[in-house]
Symmetry: C2
Subunit: 228 residues, 2 copies
């Protein structure tokens, strides 16, 4: 059985890491079952040689990091639907991953940071606060201040995604690809722990998110959230 | 002989449109020669049915718009090197084009707007000013104000491009693709009419730009600029 180590909240059935959702969706894309193992900030019990989730254990192979996991699945399970749409798809998808990493997720972070903090286990809160405040250059509370008023800037940040989804159902075109999962991971963070709605219902991104939630018999839609 | 209608400056040998550069580079990628025909804002003498440059005339076929031109070249000249790297490359490349259109070029625009304005033919300046000020919601001079101090925000905007180019020589991987040309077009605008340097020499994007200028026997490097 494949194993996937995932970041978990204070409630271990809440799994809110964008990177772990990339891996979870990539597994489902390939039609693979996996046993998910919760992991919390600061815990040390990850497979040898790895330090951060997601970690995939597939037989004797241990792979850390969502992108490496996706490449492993594509190579090890070539008969399932492609995650990338060939080499050209994989290489161009890297830009989309880079956008998700360097624009989308940091852009979402101030909107989510206090919601995430509320889900961090009490014993890991000091670590979380110190590491994130260092990265942000301000307190968590300062980062989150006035988030409702900042929603228009969030909508503007999403413009390339919106333009693509106005023309096709998925970032990957007619079918979802790993690029969709890299972007969707950030939206799953918002869904699982967020206490704010960030998309207007007439936004093409909203319709795409609904489709993503429905994939694989509603895998993502069934995930536990703090609100339900 | 293939013909390409291109935006030209008051000096008709200065060709500064990002979209036209996409088409020019795509033609060169396919090893195709084209006669370029200068066109100015407000002129009406484009091939029938078209309103905006670039316009490609290839035998009896007239194609408007850089993306449509690239798709035409890929289909009509399948034996040349692929512009997209297959269907998966084409579809994922659309996100990169959307980023170039909705983030990169609008982001560059305030830095370039007065430099562009200086290259618009006198009789087209009223049109240019009115249309751009409407889009910007401010005067050209207001948009350009304090541009040197805003260079750090420009560097931050380029983060996904920088992340990709830190790992591979081109957006398209080991070889340039149409995605490189869509991004490069914006940098050619800056090169041809700009009076400001926007990249630090140790930025991976700087090295990529040098490679792009060298492609096709220095096609882009040889383009006339206002500075030379």
């Amino acid at each position: 059985m494949i194993e996937l180590y995932e970041l978990a909240g204070a409630d271990p059935s809440i799994r809110f890491s964008p990177f772990c959702w990339r891996a979870r969706m990539a597994l489902a894309h390939k039609g693979l079952e996996a046993r998910t193992i919760p992991w919390h900030f600061g815990e040390k019990k990850l497979p040898k040689g790895t330090e951060k989730v997601p970690v995939l254990v597939d037989g004797g192979t241990v792979i850390a990091g969502s992108d490496a996991i996706a490449r492993h699945l594509e190579a090890a399970y070539p008969n399932g639907p492609s995650l990338f749409g060939g080499d050209g798809g994989e290489v161009h998808g890297r830009f989309i991953t880079a956008w998700a990493n360097s624009v989308l997720q940091p852009g979402f972070f101030p909107f989510m940071v206090l919601d995430i903090f509320a889900q961090v286990k009490p014993e890991a809160r000091a670590y979380f606060r110190a590491s994130r405040e260092k990265r942000l250059g301000m307190t968590l509370e300062q980062a989150a201040e006035g988030r409702e008023e900042k929603l228009p800037s969030l909508a503007a940040m999403l413009s390339p995604l919106r333009a693509v989804l106005a023309e096709a159902p998925f970032v990957g075109g007619e079918e979802p690809s790993y690029a969709d999962y890299t972007v969707f991971g950030a939206f799953m963070l918002v869904r699982c722990v967020g206490t704010i709605e960030i998309l207007a219902v007439d936004d093409p991104i909203h319709a795409w998110r609904e489709h993503m939630l429905d994939l694989f018999e509603g895998l993502a839609r069934q995930a536990k959230t703090v609100r339900a």
